[in-house]
Amino acid sequence: MAKKFDIKRFPGFLAITCLCLFLLYTPLLVVMVYSFNDSNSITNWGGLSLRWYEEVFFGVEAPKFKKAAFNSLTIALCAATTATTIALCAAVAILRAGRFRGQGLSFGLINLPLMVPEIVTAVATLIFFSAIGFKAGYATILIAHIVFCIPFAYLPIAARMQGIEGSYEQAAQDLYATRWEAFRLVLLPLMMPGIISGFLLAFIISLDDFIITNFVKGAGIETLPTAIFGSVKQGIKPNIMAISTLLLLVSASFVTLSWFINRKGGENSS
């Protein structure tokens, strides 16, 4: 027998791992640390302070960022809810309605947007809205977000549904449940971890989107990413680091939440 192949014993494995982690996380760490910097400079350390957080919430740019944050959060909430609902319906139809022609095609079509470069989607969406004469603004951002969030919501939902055998719903129907009751009382609760994951993923993706939003938003409305970008164009100020840190916090808590929910769901159905 040959010696067991173990990637962990490759020469330089530890060094490469450390390098990757360093490149991935140092910029984030720098941003987080410097958001607490008591100095106008973004590179010189001037002591610990919360002044840039104060600036974010109460400074001159505060109203702009608050408006943008409100837009971002409401759009993310609406887009994630709608996209999750659509993705759930699609998953039920594709995975639970029995075999039909074009089943594989439907799956491909739903997931294709993940492979299309975002800039292409952005241009196409913009052209589409102007072709039908839709006025750019909050509604165009929301519609665009709903659309590109669907595949992100669909993936965890479909993965979860594929793991649930059809026999549970059949057992429910055998026990006098209508198809709707079998869905509501059995399939839906079992699907919950997937649905929540899908929702959270869609929410984060929407909250974070810049390219498409920037194309379809029109003048006079900003989301947090476009507002940050606009602000950075005039030079990076430490308050941007504070906003970025806050955004990171929101993202991280969502991902953690999603992880815990999935773990709990996994325990229940084993």
Binding site: A171, D174, Y176, L190, N268
Partner: protein, 359 residues
Amino acid sequence: MSQTPTDIAVDVQNVTKRYGTTAALANLTLQIRDNEFFTLLGPSGCGKTTLLRSIAGFENISEGTISLFGESLAGLPPNKRPINTVFQHYALFPHMSVTDNVLFGLLRQRVPDADARKRVGEVLDMVQLSALAERMPSQLSGGQQQRVALARALAPRPRVLLLDEPLSALDLKLRQEVRIELQQIQYNTGITFIFVTHDQEEAITMSDRIAVISEGELQQVGAPRDIYESPSNRFVADFIGETNLIDVTVNSVNGDTAMCTLADGTAIQCKSAGDATTGAGHLSVRPERLTLTASDTGDLSGTVKRLTYLGTDMRITIELNDGTTLTARMQNTDDTTLPDRGDRVGLQIEPGAARLLTD
């Protein structure tokens, strides 16, 4: 409205189920009586699950009709049929406690909550699970899950209970205990059980009647004893228990008896299945009904090839002069004298034990 006698619980008439071009059930006709423990027996892939699912309403049959107490089930969805199923892998709802699992069917039938809970208590008592009522399915052993599945299916008092190989996931000792309990529960509740298994021993020890199925076709229906002692064809004789098949020439058939000659010319009278004809045929003789005698006496003679010790008895493999091998069984008592390997022996077929079969 129907005039059909209601002591027939499930009436399966000429049912065919095709998947594409292959027929999982081929023109199957069966009548299952009220209150009986009925078993569908056959090798894996013969269509047992398909028949069960057709009765439960999960498969649309291609041809034929299935009726429940005289009323056709055609077009009724599973939730409108007073039939419950114990699924092969139980399919307990993983997000519900034992109690909620058992309550499920009762609540869907709009049984008032208090009555439903009382009934849950009853059935959990029946399957001896009252102590575990608040557990989740994942906290139960395989045997306990099997009981929950049974309790859940019994709770709504179905007219017919379908059980798809419910014991196959249990270990041998547990399986034997549960067999007796299942029989007892069937007897006490009076519910018609349709039990599916590929295990002939299980079928023989538990059932009132057995239907033997092969490749979607019905081979024989009858009480375990009929099936074992009077198999209607070669498949049934081979599938149920152990048997010896001996090539013979059939000289005459007269009702259910026939005269045949063995390869060495010995004439023998035997019982025959209904459709026997003269010409070539097979005799089926169970090993325990072959007796060893001194060489040159008896109906057949051969050489002892192998002796296998089985505890309560001994299995002896004998090769006949024409090369056919037969097995005989002898009780292990103090005064049996066992032959040795290589000994020439005679074989006596017990009167009435040989049965003429068609293929």
